[in-house]
């Protein structure tokens, strides 16, 4: 499935980022960070027509030869980014949407924890379990 899942705060601080394999972590960090350009672009484009009920799913942010980067923005401007391998052709838009929905639910559950301060790095175990279930398992 995915090779990298990231949660990024409203201010673009990384809150959670997990990749598989972990050796290439930095490359994915760069990929996710660069994708924020497109996320911001998409968010600001939506803002122009007010009546537009904003879709949280932003779709494919940008493709590279090896990876596809998908984005999702919650109403509080928390960003989710999922990176999948381009060679993984089984993943259609619907599957990606489903992954984002699960991620959003997990995030909301995590936020409900009164001991979590918004803006802190996410260290919740249940949240991580859900992310793990989305990452590639070989």
């Amino acid at each position: 499935m995915a090779v990298c899942v990231a949660v990024i705060s409203k201010e673009n601080f990384p809150l959670f980022i997990k990749t598989i394999p972990t050796e290439n972590e930095l490359k994915f960090f760069y990929t996710v960070h660069t994708s924020l350009d497109v996320v911001e672009e998409k968010i600001s484009n939506v803002g122009k027509n007010v009546n537009d009920m904003r879709e949280l799913y932003l779709g494919l942010l940008y493709p590279t030869e090896d990876y596809k980067v998908y984005g999702y923005v919650t109403n509080t401007k928390v960003k989710f980014v999922i990176v999948v391998e381009s060679s993984n052709t089984n993943l259609r838009d619907n599957e990606i949407r489903g992954m984002f929905r699960r991620l959003h639910n997990a995030y909301v559950d995590m936020m409900c924890n009164p001991f979590y301060t918004p803006g802190e790095n996410i260290s919740s175990k249940p949240f991580e379990r859900i992310v793990d279930s989305m990452l590639v398992q070989d």
Binding site: N12, L26, F29, H33, D37, V38, S87
Partner: protein
Amino acid sequence: MEKRPIITCYGDQTLYSSLCPAVTEMLPRAAVEWRRSYGRPARKVCVEATFVPFDAEIFKAKEADDFCQLTSLPYFHLYWTDCDLDTYKSSIRDHISTWLSILRNYGISDWMIVVVTHDEKSVKSKLLPRTNVYDKVKNDFCGKYADRCVMLAEPLKSDPRSSESWNNFLNKFRVQILESFNISLNKFEEKLRSQRELRTQAGWDFCQYFLMQEELAFMFEMLGVYEDALIQYDELDALFSQFLLNHAAGATAEWITNLTKPCEHWEGLNLSRPVDKEKRYQIQLNKITLLDLRSYLFSRQCALLFLLYRPWEVAQRSMGFMQTCVQDVELLEVHTPPGSLACWVFLSCMETLQACEKFSQSGQVATYSLHTASLWDYTRKKLYELGELCGLLPGMTPSSEQLHLVVDLVAGMRILEQREGESPKSKLQEALSSQTAFQKNYLELSELAMGTFKHIGRMRSAKRIGQDLADFYMGLGEYSKAEGFLLDALKMYKRERWTSIADHIRVKVAQCQEREGSISKYLRSCVCIASSQDLDDDLRMDYYRKLLKLTTDVSDGPYTLKAYPLLTFDKPLLDKQVCIIGDHITITLGVTNHLPGPITCNMLSIALEPSGSRALHGHHHVRHHSGTSSSSMELCLDTTKYKVFEEYEYTSNGQVQTIRLQCHDASTMDKQIGLNHSGTQKDVQLDDYTISASLEHVVMMPGHNTFSLSTKLDDLGSYCLSQLCAEACQIQLVESLQELLIEFQVKADASTVCLKSPSGQVLAGFVQELELIVNPGSYTIPEGAVLHVSSQTLQIFQDEGQNKLTSVTLPALKAYETWEQKIFVKAALGSVDEEEHLVDVEGDWNNSILCQSLTFQQPFCFKCKMRNTISKRFVELTMTATRTLSITVNHTSLKIQGVADENIVPFYTDAPMVLTANQSATYLWQLKEIPANMQTLSCSLVLGLQDPTGIQCNADYNFKLENEEMRYGMLTSIRSDSEGPVKSGGTCTLNVDIQELGNAHQAEQLTYQIEVDKKCWVVMGKTAGEIGLQNGRGHMSLKVVPLQCGYIPVPSIKISDAGNPGEFSERKSHHVFDASAAQCVTVEMS
């Protein structure tokens, strides 16, 4: 548009060749609505046509190859005639029917007969039908389809009637043509569908199908419906991609294996022509390669997009196209020589970019840049890949293999024709030709990509390229350029708190700085890397060691750095807020060392700043008064101009109720504070450490450490912790503490000396025991310090043995250590009940004079009086005890200065007498022989006293008496005039005799005045007058009448010197001894 639908003409050749150009021209002038089957949208179409003479051979060709021909076929057939009726009947009729039979043979029903008439009248004048050629033709051939025959009246004239007939003809013609299109298209699509259905069967060939569907696209393109044409290609694209996926998944198709021949050329995309005939020919031959097929397909899509004026979509699609191609090549495991794919991508990208540039308008730059930016980036990456492969990167030397590779790659590009300007191929060839050319091209591309990203606001992407550029410059050895790019990126990552990336960049920055030799910056980077929480432990250890080495190696130090992130500090804790001068103050400091190993500091110190040196902790403050109840004070934090207002609110009685701090531009402050640690080191300056608390040789272990710093302060005042500095050889790590506002006070207590009576009461006259208590306060008293004790009015003794005392030598005393000594004092008796006496104490260690006042209580109250008669003098003294104490008076004696003791004769016997509260004793002395000229007598009463405890002492009481001399003696007597007792109402005589004492008779006259009680006496005659003196004696008598009876006082007479008649003062009267003072006389009833 190259191709137009073909329409054949038959009949009168001269006629149609003269008219066809006009028809060709007029046909596309009006658009017709094209209705189509299957619910496809109707479109407005301008019909165009090419006219060719009719030839039955075309149909034969169609028979042979009807598979994928659509555009090259004639769609419609015209028969032209302008004959008259007779000719029609004789020959034309048969001619037409032969033509029709040929058409019918081939199943063609799209035809029309055009009858041109020149004589209009002949047509109209006929009353009966079927009399002209038009009617005849209609009748003979058209049957149900009357539209198949059209009359064109006098086409070469330009009158309204002619143009009307033209319009009629054209409209019918257009509709007919479209109908014919519909028929052909429907047939063709039917065929296409059936072909597609067969796609899973063995032997099905995609290329054939491709050409067939492309024919449809050509058809649409020909008709100007580019959208539909594009749809055809998009469908083909989707179908092809699906095939490839299925193929990779195991559903192999034979035709795909044909595509996967090893790749031999990689000329990239060609967008210069709408149709790449050569590639199309390859498809027809079924010899096309995967890349070429994709390229061809995409080039057709682009061509249509350009026709649709959507060049940005070309840019948008191209990225996906190229990535798909690369993936396809991998997916199908097509053998590609190394670098060939990169070449292909590079060339294709450049081709797209050049094509887009040609087509795009300035208004679309924004939309278009959005997509070209990533294309530029992609091109750049591919060039880099090639450079890496061919050994063209800085620092590489191309091997012969690599040189061969370049030759092969250039050959594979197939540079055939030289296009005008710089073609992608020539550009790539140039770039691969040498290292310098590669460098130039790569940098140019990087700049372009970065610039485009910046233009569309994708700063992160732009900075990412900046990092690649930095790597490149590092390879070139231009470290300062590289550092610039890296720092730029670093700033962004730090701002967005992507610490792992930031730290990674920091490592590169450090490498640059190391090469550049900027020690202070390099040190800073080493610190950051070694303290990073995200980097590898090995790397951190490596930089930790470098750092340690640097601390000792650098020579031109010391370097001052911010302590963060190497060390973080807890808020320093003071052991006391107020410290006594000379005392030690201890600051407890928690330090966290983020290095992977211990660090040894030769000094850890905290600068202490006297608060007075900068107004209120380095901030100016101005006090504003606003209203009556509140005032505010403005302080500027740092020099960065935050205005913070301190507001006070007072209650009605003037007490402070609320203090508020307000900052109006808190938002900017927040930002600044957020960046506090990320700022450059420029603003790090070492404070003044002359007053500081420090600890030497400190070893900080990784993690949390606690240290206590202490110092002794020798100056008074309030101090603020201003800065913290950990000094490790040549490095000073500095952290400002000003914001924490930690303050303490250094105070000094003055030395005190105090005299205290153990009983709480000090009596005058006796030697009193006192305690001298010395408290040095916050000072220390050195050994041998002397305390000088003196008094103006008191006698001070060391002991009861009454040795005089002037100074006390003190032992060494520490602060607040008290020392006591007994001393004895004695005060003379006085007349005031409570008397204050001052004792001056002066310590020679701090030059302060202290006045201690002591209140002495008097044991007795004295009253003294001088009593005189004409010849004798006495001193009377009454002594009353005022305290409840029983004091024994053992003996008393009076001494008068200038008077011999034997001339003072006491009228009592000396015997001890006990006096207690309010008891009094009166003593009387007669004075004999007093020197006459003594105005005042200084008397001293010497008392032998014994207090209740049995302590005896002598006390003096000193007093002064006026020495008064008697000058006149006076005697008054009263006698009744009527002989016998004095009776009330009866006249009496008052006789006054005056005698001047002494020998010298100075005065001759005296004045007198009678003072009577007006109720008792009436004076007959003058109450005041003069008395003459003769030989010192005088006499006068006055008549007085008593008014009352009883024992009443005789009227008193006052005399004075005649020179001063008014002076009857008390003092003067003392000079007169009235021998009959207070004399009374008995008055009887008359």
